[in-house]
Symmetry: D2
Subunit: 352 residues, 4 copies
Amino acid sequence: MGGAPGHLAPREMTIRIAVIGAGIMGTDHARIIAEDLPGATLQVVCDISEEQSRSLADECGAVDSETDANAVIEREDVDAVLIASTDDTHADLAIASISAGKPVLCEKPLASTARDCLQVVTLESRLEQPLLQLGFMRRFDKSYHEMRQTLEEGVMGRPLMMHNFHRNVVSPGSWFTSDMAITNSASHEFDIARYVLGCEYTSISVSTPRRSDDQAAPVMMVLETSDGQLVNIEVNNNAAYGYDVRSELVCEKGSVHLISESAARYDLDFQSTERYPADWRPRFAEAYRLQNKAWINAINTGQPSKIAANSWDGYCAAIAAEAGVRSLTEGTRVAVEMEEEPAFYRLLKEAA
Amino acid sequence: MGGAPGHLAPREMTIRIAVIGAGIMGTDHARIIAEDLPGATLQVVCDISEEQSRSLADECGAVDSETDANAVIEREDVDAVLIASTDDTHADLAIASISAGKPVLCEKPLASTARDCLQVVTLESRLEQPLLQLGFMRRFDKSYHEMRQTLEEGVMGRPLMMHNFHRNVVSPGSWFTSDMAITNSASHEFDIARYVLGCEYTSISVSTPRRSDDQAAPVMMVLETSDGQLVNIEVNNNAAYGYDVRSELVCEKGSVHLISESAARYDLDFQSTERYPADWRPRFAEAYRLQNKAWINAINTGQPSKIAANSWDGYCAAIAAEAGVRSLTEGTRVAVEMEEEPAFYRLLKEAA
Amino acid sequence: MGGAPGHLAPREMTIRIAVIGAGIMGTDHARIIAEDLPGATLQVVCDISEEQSRSLADECGAVDSETDANAVIEREDVDAVLIASTDDTHADLAIASISAGKPVLCEKPLASTARDCLQVVTLESRLEQPLLQLGFMRRFDKSYHEMRQTLEEGVMGRPLMMHNFHRNVVSPGSWFTSDMAITNSASHEFDIARYVLGCEYTSISVSTPRRSDDQAAPVMMVLETSDGQLVNIEVNNNAAYGYDVRSELVCEKGSVHLISESAARYDLDFQSTERYPADWRPRFAEAYRLQNKAWINAINTGQPSKIAANSWDGYCAAIAAEAGVRSLTEGTRVAVEMEEEPAFYRLLKEAA
Amino acid sequence: MGGAPGHLAPREMTIRIAVIGAGIMGTDHARIIAEDLPGATLQVVCDISEEQSRSLADECGAVDSETDANAVIEREDVDAVLIASTDDTHADLAIASISAGKPVLCEKPLASTARDCLQVVTLESRLEQPLLQLGFMRRFDKSYHEMRQTLEEGVMGRPLMMHNFHRNVVSPGSWFTSDMAITNSASHEFDIARYVLGCEYTSISVSTPRRSDDQAAPVMMVLETSDGQLVNIEVNNNAAYGYDVRSELVCEKGSVHLISESAARYDLDFQSTERYPADWRPRFAEAYRLQNKAWINAINTGQPSKIAANSWDGYCAAIAAEAGVRSLTEGTRVAVEMEEEPAFYRLLKEAA
């Protein structure tokens, strides 16, 4: 559009962010920061692959690119860290960021084991204020938001059951196992059901059907909560037909269902059709944007988001998953035995 | 979130925007600029009400507030103008902005009459580059985008008819008339159908049912296009049940339907229910955000958005509306007689 | 299932029916009579093709088969006549049946012209009781029934507009024309909208888009009613994607939509799909069954069905269609000018 | 409708049926026989309440009414017996009917215990042909029919899981318990999942959430099948919001969902609404009609319906329910241990 040269902005406050990891999630986060977050600057893109970090930095106009994550965290021109590298690096990088006193948005999972999650929890709970926001972005999805709001309004009565279905399409010969369906994919459901219901898990029973091929079979989980609800979760990573997340909250007077939106309906060839996306990104694009916006806002105001998950939530998801894997192996109901919640996190929740 | 003081940003290029009008639309635009558009600064909020302009400026952290629109357009610290004041002021403010050589995003309608639209068209077409983007935000809605894409893919065959339904809830005793349903509300449909179909209107027939009260009745319009299609539009400003926009594109092999998304479904009291919003803002919030983002991008790159409407599109919607009002009055089919499209706009389209 | 020989029934009252026409509709009616209507006996199947009449008679266990319709109507062992032969034979066979004093269920249309309809009307209105029920089966469909009931309950307020969409799949090279879309297909909509709204048409405007092939284009009709409503009808016989009937009744406070039911939804290949039938029979199977049941009941009780259409309704549909064809030809709005309704039919309605 | 006196029918074969039980189900069956089943005569209505049996007999035009079920079964003018009395009477009346050599359609459950079911099975399997059809009417529902057909077509691949939801509205203070949710309500799901999947259950795990009032809580069941599938069943008799049955069959390539049909959608008060029925009868009205029609056909032809359930199917549902009740009590997964299927029923299936 002609005639309008850009102008130099007055000096403003901005958060200079390092994105660690230039894979699928790192790319999405870098784009959100560069294109959709006023008040934030994409300062550094970091990946162990020099090529990938440079390429993403170029695409998104980052100031710099790097390959050494720990060095990036220490940089003076980095105010905050977004961890989107491989799962096994999350805990160490989170610890490094917290130790450097820098706010961090960490992609889920917080750590590969509940024990490692506790390390982050222990470190953080010695601070005056939390520094870590965990990337359970579904909490920012408006469907789940409506579910939670419905409970608060009370019109549906007390919740009894939450049915959850989580279906992915993985590439043939994928390394996904039924164990990983529990530890990796289901963590979203472990977190969102706790968040919507506001209570903890006490037991988990996992069943799995037999597939006719060598792909990982779905898992069907039934969890009991401290308030006597059931949370039922199907995770099906080889669902084949598309990415599809469903949820229903059954209450004493009625039900609320999440709707997975689609933009158009097609009538053709004796069929009326809506489309499924191939993966989770279109479905949760807006939730990611709002999550990251809430993170920037939290840094600016010094007040953690009341919606976002924290380190303790990361531990809770991990401990449920570990009990789930045991249940799958042993074929029985397994108790979910949690450490006591540190006062640090309890007080945060009460403040919210 | 503790520990992370904001930092002064390096001096960056930013577009300093004046929002003119602090009503419903001005408020939404000011919020989008302040919260969702990196690369833009909300410089001035202007409204004839000093109180309203100051209040909105404060809420959104604008640098300044003003009451004199023409003075604001001239300000050196204003790079671009967003016109969201009352409809009758659009043309004059657009002309002032263009004359000042400043890019402008003008809420629809471009002007109250087709003749006034032509003044803007004539002025702008003397420039080297267009300066005005018109706020027909539906072009940025993903449902209409899918419709257009479907036509390009060809799988549905040639389009035959487009059925459009536009329903609002107005307050009782509203000043809305059936004429205004055509000139004001239907302009969205006049534009989006032209955009999706890629052709012009040749005639319009308007019918209207009788209401039992003194509220404005809906209007039902049948337009013919230069390529032999029918565009059928119902505008019902007293629809009472909610804000609801529907559209179906009927092609020779099948149909595409726009889906108005909702986030949740409720089962209660022997009913399964989805909710309608009270007005257009939730329905098109994302379209507004993308439209404004495209505008900033156009200013930065000097390339007008290939999607957005321009001054000529504003004239086309106005000339259809004027024929529609004549048809309503005379009870007959009326020809839509357009001026020839200036080469300036034709070339823009070909470049796109 | 073993052990249970059938027994001779005690002599019971039964209506012995002749089905005239062994085509698609005649076959369906013969099956309904044979399989689903207690109190009725399929006495004769009649078709000008001896082979077809015998074959259908055999399939459905009719007592006899015939080729001469007029002889069949006169037979002593025939109590009632179901006319499902070609459209151009309806009026003459209806007149023959009425003259023979036998109740008749006549497939729509009643006659090929409004004038011929009037002959039936005139003949019948000299009787003490009506003898003809017209096969506008949609009146027995539960979706339309709910529309009508909603109006009676008053919760939606006064009706303003009824949008109707009628889509068929015809075989390539079919003899269907746009004229026939009005005279043949649209007669269902002409009747059902009159029935739901309870008033008469005063004018009709027909538009038609241009197809790129030599198939008949859809027609788009806007009718005005004596009570100031609009009835909008799209008939699209080359809809290609499936048989699809939609309807929405827009009232002053809200809307009622007909739902075309499907039994299952399929998730496959990144699509969520429901199926369209190839023709009208699955969609209206239950309506046909209930219509025919109501006919038998009317014969048994001597009270005509309060729901079913009669000869006068057949005339009303025909006169609207004739005005529609004129509007299509002349390109203008055409008045629907009806004869005055005979007292005979007015009194019937009041009794209902 | 005037002019057409009924005629005496020629003597035809008809099945003279006794309906035992004049409660909700007996009333529905009597109406179906009287109004919708050619070839059947409602000969006797029997209920322990003389008033109720006479009243229903009068309403439906039965030849006679009675209070002694065993006497009715013996009557010479009764060819076949439909058992719709209280659950605890089913087995004895079924045995009486079989002993009298009369075909019987028995409402589910076949008996109150699996052991009692076996008595019927043992008696019947000594015959040459089966005499009992069991009232699992869902097998005649077109949604479940499409599920089964989809498996046969193979396009969805091998089935992995079937999710079932069965929700009722019971009157406050109802005598329903969670045990009864398993033994009574869930029997429909136990049967239909076996029927769709074509295999047997090997284990069942039952969980139940806690309600805040003294109403029976829902139960959530996970069953494993002999072919390695999971069948998940929620039964919620206090669902409050309406009668609602859902089912999804998850296969290796995609899913099939049952759609519970509704006839209309209402837009009012910022809501888009479809309605739930208060009980199962509207939802399965057509399935009952088709089931009873298949029964009459089976009697007439001497060939049992290939779709309908038999005595052995009744046993299979009962044995699953008993394991379910044990699982609920003991809080563990319980094996479903079935007797071996008698050759009599195996051969029937192979013939089908």
